[in-house]
Symmetry: C2
Subunit: 678 residues, 2 copies
Amino acid sequence: MGTSLNRVEEEDYSSYTNSSDFISISLEDNNNTTKTATSTSKSSSELHPVCLPPHVTTWQKLNHRLREIFFPDDPLHIFKDQSWRRKLVLAFQYVFPILRWAPHYSLSLFRSDLIAGLTIASLAIPQGISYAKLANLQPIIGLYSSFVPPIVYSVLGSSRHIGIGPVSVASLVMGTMLDGEVSHSNKKDLYLELAFTSTLFAGLFQASLGIFRLGFIIDFLSKATLIGFMAGAAVIVSLQQLKGLLGITHFTSDMELIPVLESVFNSIKEWKWETIVMGFCFLIFLLVARFISTRKPRLFWVSAAAPLTSVILSSLLIFLLKSKLKHVSIIGHLPKGVNPTSENKLYFHGPHLQLAIKTGIITGILSLTEGIAVGRTFASLHNYQVDGNKEMIAIGFMNIVGCCFSCYVTTGNYFFKWSFSRSAVNYNAGAKTIFSNIVMAATVLVTLLFLMPLFHYTPDFVLAAIIITAVVGLVDYKAALRLWKLDKLDFVACCCSFFGVLFISVQIGLAIAVGVSVFKIILHVTRPNTVVLGNIPGTQIFRSLNHYENATRVPSFLILSIESPIFFANSLYLQERISRWVRGEENRIRENNESALKCVILDMTAVTAIDTSGIDAISELKKNMDKRSLQLALVNLVGTVMEKLHQSKTLDSFRSKGLYLTVGEAVDDLSSSWKHWP
Amino acid sequence: MGTSLNRVEEEDYSSYTNSSDFISISLEDNNNTTKTATSTSKSSSELHPVCLPPHVTTWQKLNHRLREIFFPDDPLHIFKDQSWRRKLVLAFQYVFPILRWAPHYSLSLFRSDLIAGLTIASLAIPQGISYAKLANLQPIIGLYSSFVPPIVYSVLGSSRHIGIGPVSVASLVMGTMLDGEVSHSNKKDLYLELAFTSTLFAGLFQASLGIFRLGFIIDFLSKATLIGFMAGAAVIVSLQQLKGLLGITHFTSDMELIPVLESVFNSIKEWKWETIVMGFCFLIFLLVARFISTRKPRLFWVSAAAPLTSVILSSLLIFLLKSKLKHVSIIGHLPKGVNPTSENKLYFHGPHLQLAIKTGIITGILSLTEGIAVGRTFASLHNYQVDGNKEMIAIGFMNIVGCCFSCYVTTGNYFFKWSFSRSAVNYNAGAKTIFSNIVMAATVLVTLLFLMPLFHYTPDFVLAAIIITAVVGLVDYKAALRLWKLDKLDFVACCCSFFGVLFISVQIGLAIAVGVSVFKIILHVTRPNTVVLGNIPGTQIFRSLNHYENATRVPSFLILSIESPIFFANSLYLQERISRWVRGEENRIRENNESALKCVILDMTAVTAIDTSGIDAISELKKNMDKRSLQLALVNLVGTVMEKLHQSKTLDSFRSKGLYLTVGEAVDDLSSSWKHWP
């Protein structure tokens, strides 16, 4: 055990004199493979045995793999070693996180939550109305959606700082997808039914992702593609708001850049100067408020209060000047009262069911991405854990319940920290628990019961201005610049989704974005790096010659590090590439008159997996090297790779002088063996 | 330079006394970063500097990346350092490989090629006729396709042992795809036009894959999926031959298992006992001949001659007993003469163009897979290089020329060595150059000119028997068993494509197969391994605790090796997984009363790439560890990863006591620093 390690006192390996006569590498096929290898080394340079990993049955492997896929966070670890009674309590708390904090709730917490709740309510009410219009729904649906879902979430959700309500992108997508098949103006009732049904399917989809622990699927919408997607959606949303801001009555229901712009400029005659002047005044007011808040986070309340202020001011204005401003389009009558039930409005039979399912899945996944990301951001800021799959179940149930109470798709707002989003406000407003959402819901309830007539004269242009201010934050050009600086391919993915959304459609844009992200992974695997290693003088360390300029080539050796698992997609490439390295090295040696190449060492540390094509590639390579009379040695085989090579008998041809634990040992042993048998 | 390396004389790291007071890690942003780091170490344990890789411009990176993607084999290396004249000669030889061997052609080579050519001709003629029937084409098209394409290939192709002609799977796929839209019995002319047009598009697709150096696309049809696909296709083909073997007249044109079996048993009244008896006799004869040849490779001629023998014997039999065997279906009249031109039969306008293009692409890719694989197999057996992209151009041109001379899709036969394939026979028959194909073409020419009437009485059942014998070799159950033994996921991919072809359709089967293969890669990247490393006593080597049972944990350290690049698809998983490892380690320490965890070391050797999500994950992790008052150290960052972490300023927080070249150095340095500042 306490033997000294291999020493390399000289730089030149050819001046070595020590050798090891006999190295047995234990490769038995039984369960206790790590026998002490009988290594009768004569010198100080002792070889360490390379051994097979302990045997693991297929069932154990499968079990481990499935656990890693579905339960990587070990969600049940809190139940371990607990009494039955405690387990029951924990299980209840797991299902209803409200039970975790409600018993310890205090007055001081309430004070923070009350202020936070009122603040976000002042934001939620105008935003709810605006987003509902974005989804081509009556404004009241937006308010309904800000009442029931937050209450459901407070019971089921585990994030403490999230703000629940409709969001811009999901509203937009639902609006365009449904309106593409069923006109919201001609078939109002059917449209509403489809919206609720989509919400149900969104909820079912979200909850089942969580229940079947497939939450990792949303990770495939990488941050890079989301940045592009959100920016594209924000541009579209803003442009569509020109309808309200310019006072246009006839407007396209399309969503792509070109038809929207055409629509704006074709209806130039419909532009109304009163609407334009007032609309832009309020837009500037809101943007300035937003700017102040982003500059001074302490003044968060400026941007939080601005939308409600605008709504009140503009409504007053229209009310007072109603005789002169007849042409300005206003919200009109809104029914008083809490959410009516809507379970009888769900649409399960008929030609549009497929549309409802598709819309549900897409809006479901989009709103999940927003909700989970915002939950995780705040959890990491406050150092608590959010179980993604658990959250999905909570959001899913919230939508399932919601669709029975006249609500459409809701989630937690998006994570751009300084955007005009409710969660960010909630966080800055000092929310301590999710109770702030209950306060918000109560405020919305009061509004629904008593204040609805006040919104009668609220003009559409102010809603448009509120939407634009809300989505401006989604255009995160700084993040895009960072992508460009750090990772060009990520930037390409970002651009693809941006332009895809802008010029083709939301669904296609999303599909392109996911495609590019997956392609990036595939490309990396298909064309992995192979790096020539050199010795860092005076050590047993071998590092890339390109990276470490003090690393030096070891004469007669070509040491390659393969920087990827070997799969069918790259096995041929790697074979060809290694042959080319050998050819190149032989040419270099010929030109420089160095000592001939004798051995190729493959550092397999980064080859963390291999499939049958990979196994074939290794044995092909071995044959190829044998034909060229070159020795091939494999260094530091990872457990699974070693096992597969062993099972396929490929390892047999490497048994003597072919398997080593480190590159240093391989170089020592091989070069000393040549001394003995030249 | 010549300093001694870090030594670990004791097992217990906590008994360390040496320390290094000051380590400067040079992280300048200039071009010559590998300055000697001023490391004023007091002890023998010297730290080696971690440095940034030399600066490479985006353009250089892109250039390198594109070269690796499109020119991994450096196809132009033969032109390097040659005179202009020599370059011209080489270029001609590159385009027309015939110029390479034709000048050195000798009589002894000719003798081998002659025998080989005659042997494969005896195989090519009956197979050509049979495969054409498989594609629902007149038998003569099969003979035409065995004449022109081999000649074109001998001029352009670089494989020496390939045998050119129609192949079963591509014929089958073309037959079913075209017949699904245009009936071959009702619209004979249109069907023929579509077949030639598909051949043209197959050729164009193949050639453009080669020209644009996208040949690697066919690698995505992994060997595992191809084994399943080929076996599925073979089963379907064999079942369809029951039509000929049982003498059924009304048969489905569908290709899936269920309709074919239904068709066989629904038409039980049409079964003809004479056909059945004779058909199965010849089938048994052919299978026995095949069996003999697989057992004794020297007797390859037995199986090579058997098909032609069967054709002659059966034709004679029918001719002699024609009065008694009226019901047996025969080939009938075949026109004499060489290939008529068919460029006027190409179909470029009309409703079926899309079908032709689709069929062309699918048969093109399938026949490429066969052709390239067989070429590579023989090239590796004979130690010469085959440039995949070059081969694709040759095969593509062969089909483009072919479709103008009444040929349908042709390629080199598939690689199952002991299958009844022409290339394997060619190889065993001692072919030395591709001239054997010219001999074969000449023999086919003689047949076309003079021997066509002989095939008049050839019965369909003997063609069916020949096809079955030919495709039996495609059911490679041994290879499937090997997949099961070595890689369960490969086996799943194989099964998916097998059952996909059998029960759904060829296209869907192929799509499923590719999907499963890609999913395998994605799964590996999405859920990478993280492995706890331990020290191999008496060394500076750190290896997996699971794999090496003699490896021991280092007290106060958790050393994790991350076995994958960090991408958006796994960045969250890795964050969670590492947190869980830390939690688990802390629990273990608490239970065993060991010294508290102080530091987490991440061995990043296998993290060969990182994207922006990965960068964020690392900085999140660093913050997380800081909150838990744990040190986080990164070891052996690969060049590109290091560069990106540096550019994103993430590396700044690791500057002191956070970056090391080896795990050993990290453990030494960190544990000795705790000695000084406890």
